[in-house]
């Protein structure tokens, strides 16, 4: 048993590393950097930002002396062995400083005539992808997710995640509960009253909800309940509590997110009921003279719930991660926003933070399920041994 757990955990760790490396690569392939703007920042400012966030490093002067001139390039790629600058050393000789590796210049520090000591920055270069990758892996190994660029380094990624993830979780859990209640009862009714108007109405609604998706449903609900009827406020989020003042703003986003999943649940529950309802044990139950209510609640419901339960896992993951659109529409300060804005703004640490959080969650859930299976099913246990 311990061997299974250990093996699954190691596999999980490996998966996490692969996901991290892929995300790192994808982020850097995307053109543009975190500090690119319509108005280019001056090289000195870029260099200061770069050094602060580990994206740039100094090229130190190898000698003491006076700067005569730079090779001319203000920004751009320089190959190993190419000229960077010419200095006049203390003894009067001219020293040519060559690049010791392929590099991208960010800044040539100062102008001709500047006096330099050994080790003082002559230029500033971009750090290589490998350097950045190693640095981030090191900090992740220390469980340090870094700071966000959007906050100019004043907010840690972890802080942002801890602020926003509980909100996404809250939204997701409410939505899941609402979806379950709505979906299962509608599916149950539809299955039991097959080919009646109840069936058609609930299944058509379900089809509609699935096809409309939250990007249409959200604004529609806002229009009807917020703008026309003025029943409910929307936009923003309130702290966790069950007071009406705090709950009311959450109703529209929760319902929007829930409706789509409710539709899935309804279809699954209906299929489940249909499969169960004609089986022998139901006929037996009826034959025993049980009331229809008892037949449904004791026997049919269990059968109907089975497919729903197996869909619960993916649904939970989807509902928590998939609320990006809903969070956007309703200005919910959850984690979804970071998926979009952090990626668009090339806020590398924030993107990596979100990716790591979600991969960890999914991996832990999967490993948990596997371990639970192993505990429950002797065959799997034996296989592993």
């Amino acid at each position: 048993m311990a061997a299974v757990v250990l093996r699954r955990l190691l596999q999980g760790l490996l998966t996490l590393w692969v996901v991290m490396t892929l995300s790192f690569g994808l982020m850097r392939i995307a053109p543009g950097g975190p500090f690119d703007r319509e108005k280019p920042l001056p090289p000195a400012v870029m260099a200061n930002l770069g050094r602060t966030f580990g994206l740039a490093a100094n090229v130190p002067s190898p000698v003491s002396g006076t700067l005569l001139r730079f090779a001319g390039k203000v920004r751009g790629h320089v190959r190993a062995g190419e000229l960077l600058a010419v200095l006049r050393a203390k003894n009067g000789s001219e020293v040519k400083v060559l690049a010791d590796r392929d590099l991208t210049l960010v800044q040539n520090v100062g102008e001709a005539g500047r006096a330099l000591r050994v080790g003082e920055p002559l230029c500033v270069r971009e750090t290589s992808l490998w350097e950045q990758y190693v640095a981030s892996l090191k900090s992740y190994a220390r469980l340090d997710l870094g700071v966000t660029y959007a906050s100019e380094g004043s907010t840690s990624v972890l802080h942002n995640l801890m602020q926003s993830f509980p909100i996404s979780l809250e939204l997701g859990l409410y939505a899941l509960i609402v979806a379950l209640i709505l979906g299962v009862s509608a599916g149950l009714l539809a299955g039991l009253k097959r080919n009646t108007w109840i069936d058609y109405v609930s299944m058509t609604t379900a089809l509609g909800a699935v096809s409309l998706s939250s990007i249409v449903l959200g604004p529609l609900l806002v229009l009807v309940f917020g703008v026309w009827l003025r029943w409910l406020p929307w936009g923003g989020w309130e702290p966790f509590s069950f007071r009406w003042a705090h709950m009311q703003v959450k109703i529209l986003p929760v319902v929007t997110l829930a409706l789509v999943y409710a539709a899935w649940f309804a279809r699954l529950a209906r299929a489940g009921v249909l499969e169960v309802i004609h089986q022998d044990f139901i006929r037996t139950a009826r034959a025993k003279g049980l009331s229809e209510f008892a037949v449904v609640t004791r026997h049919a419901l269990r059968g109907a719930l089975l497919p729903v339960v197996s869909f619960l896992g993916p649904a939970l993951a989807g509902i928590v991660t998939g609320s990006v659109v809903v969070e956007r529409i309703f200005s919910v300060p959850g984690i979804g926003e970071y998926f979009v804005t952090a990626a668009v703004n090339r806020d590398y640490p924030m993107v990596m933070g979100t990716v790591i959080l979600y991969s960890t969650l999914l991996i832990v859930a999967n490993v948990g399920v596997d371990i639970a299976y192993a505990a429950l099913d002797p065959r799997i246990r034996r296989e592993a041994a």
Binding site: K39, R51, T204
Partner: protein, 580 residues
């Protein structure tokens, strides 16, 4: 079970499923205008009972005024901190704030500020000239890595210190002569220096708290500030609350008591919040594009459009034939009917431009921009013929690069049609993602490409510098020693009148050489409740909330009867002329 009945039922339900949403959308469309508030309903609102004010703002995440570089967080910070000078109420010269006055040397290079007596931080600690020295050095310190540090480079020695060339902060030209006197030495005469002082990087930051709490100092539990309001609550991406600062030197004239800032990046949400009365000003998020013409046509009393210090134009690569011939560039410029574009296509109140500089410097600089002809197809055809391409014959198709979105395509298509109709020039449109366009422009691999420029500082020079030979944003590859010389002269000139002559000269050279296709100057549209007074048109779009107040019942009655009440600018410090 009745099979045909089932089929019929199924058909009906499918039909309903398809039709219901359609009907719904039709209803929405027809009601599209109906959902807008009417002027009448806005004028029948009761005046607010309290002195609370609310607006929406886009994700304010970070609060260190030394680093706040973009819109987000700006409106919060500018009401919490205040520099030596502050923006006026509407277009007018800067108003002394932490400073009570200034003396400028004859060469326009040395500014000696006297601090207002008795000014304190929100915790009661006095503010001294040394606070400014420390704060400005902090902005410039390479370790701070401030994106807005560039604004301080007008100060002597600031650039070298910020670049890491000069490690000694004492070489930066800002010194405290005594606790209430600050001396600032500039690198060049900078007639707009007092305007610059209103910007966020120039505000003082509380040394003790910054040193004690590090990056956490701007949190509400630690922050100490000096502006008309203090930060009472701050929930990133949710909301923030500001309270009037009882220790502010002019607290008697600050009307608002509490300011609520609701966070959203969604323009529609911000708009709806305003419509239902959650906010009094819809905020800094912008209005949904499709609402702007609707609001304009509805003639809503609370809908305002202000000009901005931003210019939309196309860069023309001047070293590529046939655009190396200025006559061709001029012909193209004259063949575009910009008035019609602004009036009927864009419908955002855009101001048609014939040059690079928006005409907004009359009040502050006494400078009126060069106005030249923008549309003359006859002359355009003549010029093109003169250049050897009568009716466009012999001209290869022209490629127009623009970036996806924001209605750039509409503009590009409009230009395409104009050039085809008026000159017979064939235009091919090519749109690309923003980052890619920027790279293409920087590399100079284009003939005509969309560009824009927003002022770095409130002076015509910021628009003219773009076309200097070694300017990074000079995508046109325009190199004119004559122009560079005039720009250098503008930088040196301490006398405002002679400087204006030079500015005009630079504009004339640009108008002659035309390395770009001027299109229009941006405007920005917003909604603000009609009873809000003191939120006046400002060319930099800065509106300190300390000037904002609600109408008195008498004033409200007048507004209801159609009167527009504006509060005049305060007597500020006119831009010092130095030599004058």
């Amino acid at each position: 079970m009745n099979a045909p009945g089932t089929v019929r039922l199924a058909r009906i339900s499918v039909l309903v499923a398809i039709l219901a949403p359609l009907l719904f959308f039709c209803a929405c469309r027809r009601d599209g205008k109906g959902t807008l508030r009417t002027t009448d309903s806005l004028l029948h609102e009761a005046l607010p009972a309290g002195r609370d004010f609310a607006f929406a703002s886009g994700s304010q995440e970070f609060l260190d005024p030394a680093k706040v570089a973009e819109t987000a967080g700006h409106h919060l910070m500018m009401n919490v901190f205040e520099g030596l000078y502050v923006y006026n109420r509407g277009d007018g010269p800067p108003v002394p704030a932490m400073a009570s006055g200034v003396a400028v040397s004859a060469d326009g290079l040395t500014y000696t500020f006297t601090l207002r007596p008795g000014i304190t931080w929100s915790n009661g600690r006095p503010i001294s000239a040394q606070d400014f020295v420390w704060s400005w050095r902090r902005v410039l310190d390479p370790k701070t890595a401030s994106r807005s540090a560039q604004l301080l480079w007008f100060i002597r020695g600031a650039k070298a210190f910020n670049e890491g060339v000069e490690p000694d902060p004492d070489k930066v030209g800002v010194h405290a002569l005594d606790p209430s006197t600050l001396r600032v030495e500039l690198a060049n005469p900078t007639p707009f220096f007092l305007h610059l002082l209103c910007e966020m990087p120039f505000v003082p930051t509380p040394r003790e708290e910054v040193e004690r709490w590090g990056d956490q100092w701007p949190q509400p539990e630690h922050i100490v500030s000096n502006g008309p309001f203090v930060l009472a609550e701050f929930h990133p991406r949710k909301w923030a609350v500001l309270q009037r600062n009882p220790r502010y030197y002019d607290v008697g004239n600050v009307y608002l008591e509490t300011i609520h800032i609701y966070d959203t990046e969604d323009e529609q949400t911000a708009f709806e919040w305003y419509e239902v009365g959650k906010t009094q000003w819809h905020g800094d998020v912008g209005l949904p594009m499709e609402q702007v013409p609707l609001l304009r046509e509805a003639g809503r009393v609370d809908f305002r459009t202000d000009p901005k210090l931003c210019s939309y134009y196309f860069s023309i690569r001047v070293d590529r034939p046939p655009f190396d011939d200025p006559r061709v560039r001029r012909a193209i410029a004259l063949a575009i009917d910009r008035e019609r574009l602004a009036l009927h296509v864009l419908r955002g109140g855009q101001i048609v431009s014939s040059g690079a500089v928006p005409d907004l410097f009359g009040v502050t600089h006494g400078y009126h921009v060069l106005q030249s002809e923008t549309f003359n197809p006859e002359k355009a055809r003549a010029l093109l013929a003169e250049a050897g391409y009568p009716r466009g014959v012999g001209l290869p198709p022209v490629e127009f690069y623009f970036n996806t979105g924001e209605g750039h395509r509409v503009i590009a298509e409009y230009v395409q049609r104009n050039l085809q109709e008026n000159l017979g020039i064939r235009v091919q449109l090519a749109n690309m993602e923003w980052g890619t366009l920027l790279k293409t422009l920087l590399a100079g691999r284009f003939s005509i490409g969309r560009s824009s420029w927003c002022a770095d500082y409130p002076d015509p020079l910021t628009f003219l510098e773009v076309f200097e030979s070694d300017s990074k944003s000079n995508y046109s590859g325009y190199k004119s020693p004559e122009y560079d010389e005039v720009i250098a002269a503008i930088r040196r000139e301490p006398d405002l009148h002679r400087r204006n002559t030079d500015l005009r000269r630079a504009e004339e050279i640009l108008a002659r050489d035309l390395p770009f296709l001027p299109m229009y100057h941006y405007t920005w549209s917003y909604l603000i409740r009609p009873y809000v007074l003191g939120y006046e048109n400002h060319m930099q779009d800065e509106h300190p909330l300390k000037y904002v107040r609600y109408a008195t019942p008498q004033e409200w009655e007048r507004i209801r009867h159609g009167e527009a009440i504006h509060l005049a600018p305060l007597p500020g410090e006119l831009t010092p002329t130095g030599g004058g």
